[in-house]
């Protein structure tokens, strides 16, 4: 359905017309066809949520995750859970960056972020659950928890993660 003036009347998220070269009052709709199409495009550009650009290192990390079970490094369940978890982390923590990672001798995938006094790790198990652990070396404080990519990240997880990914 095409937007109509009433659709956007009183909508504060509507693009301000004057700033984009429309010589109209704020709640008016441009009647000229070219202006109308340009305005619709402007609205769509503003409404569509575009994914953030993915860095080369993030792409390399995603390739690594998706190559894990092919190389028989971990079970497909670990690969799947890690993939889901990474998407969840990217959505919840925009400042996150890829970890250092290694499969373990027990078939888990251990990811770690070591920065200054912060030690943060997440271990993904074949059961598709994960254990996270945070240590602040300077404060001598440790925190641990567990979860699943099918569950929301806990407030405690988020609090610790935000300390690392500022």
């Amino acid at each position: 359905m095409n937007p109509t003036p009433s659709t956007f009347r009183n909508d504060r998220s509507r693009p301000p017309l004057r700033e984009h070269g429309f010589a109209l009052r704020p709640n008016d709709w441009p009647l000229d066809r070219v202006a109308h199409e340009r305005y619709v495009k402007l609205i769509i550009d503003q409404l569509v949520v575009r994914p953030a650009p993915v860095s080369a290192s993030a792409l390399r990390w995603i390739d690594y995750i998706r190559s894990l079970s092919k190389g028989n490094l971990v079970a497909t369940t670990v690969e799947h859970a890690t993939d889901l978890l990474w998407r969840q982390l990217c959505q919840s923590l925009p400042s996150i960056y890829p970890p250092d990672a290694s499969p373990t001798e027990d078939g888990t995938l251990l990811m770690s972020w070591l920065r200054d006094e912060h030690h943060f790790e997440i271990e993904v198990m074949p059961s598709e659950r994960y254990v996270w652990f945070y240590r602040n070396h300077e404060l001598n404080r440790d925190y641990i928890g567990e979860g699943s990519p099918s569950e929301a990240l806990t407030p405690e997880f988020m609090e610790r993660a935000r300390a690392v990914f500022v």
Partner: protein, 150 residues
């Protein structure tokens, strides 16, 4: 674990990584110590449970064993070497970590350099991970691994 074995009070020990293939690792930027390389396996945890809860992490005295000699005992290629100062391990507060000699019953060169970092096991998972993180912090990466490239 170390009651009847001599302690190592100073010097440097090295730890070989657990990974067999550098390609299985991912480094975001430069190589850093990985928790997987300092992790007690499920089997080692079971053994520690049977040993009154005392567990040790295998390391080698640099003055007695070369990395290639240590690799020969392990039968699997372990490319990465981490150096740890004994004094730094002993200075980790609250954990009572120490290094004791644990020579292998093997006539090959370097067998006498095998040691253990004692008291790295705890029944409590949080404590176990905390000990590991503290040991990792003292580890210095010695040889370079090539991070995986896309």
């Amino acid at each position: 674990m170390c009651q009847d074995r001599p302690n190592v009070d100073d010097g440097v020990v090295f730890r070989l990584c657990t990974q067999q293939k550098p390609d299985s690792l991912y480094f975001y930027k430069e190589p850093k110590p990985l928790p997987a390389d300092f992790r007690l396996t499920d089997l080692e945890c079971e053994e520690a449970e049977k040993n009154d809860g005392i567990g040790g992490l295998s390391v080698w005295d640099v003055s007695r064993t070369e990395p290639d000699q240590a690799r020969a005992f392990l039968s699997t290629p372990r490319p990465t070497v981490y150096h740890l100062r004994v004094a730094a391990i002993r200075s980790i507060t609250d954990l009572k970590l120490h290094v004791c000699r644990d020579p292998l019953a093997d006539a090959r060169k370097g067998a006498d350099g095998h040691c253990l970092i004692a008291n790295v096991y705890s029944k409590d998972e949080k404590t176990r991970r905390s000990i590991r993180a503290s040991v990792m912090r003292e580890a210095k990466y010695v040889n370079d691994l090539k991070p995986q490239r896309a």
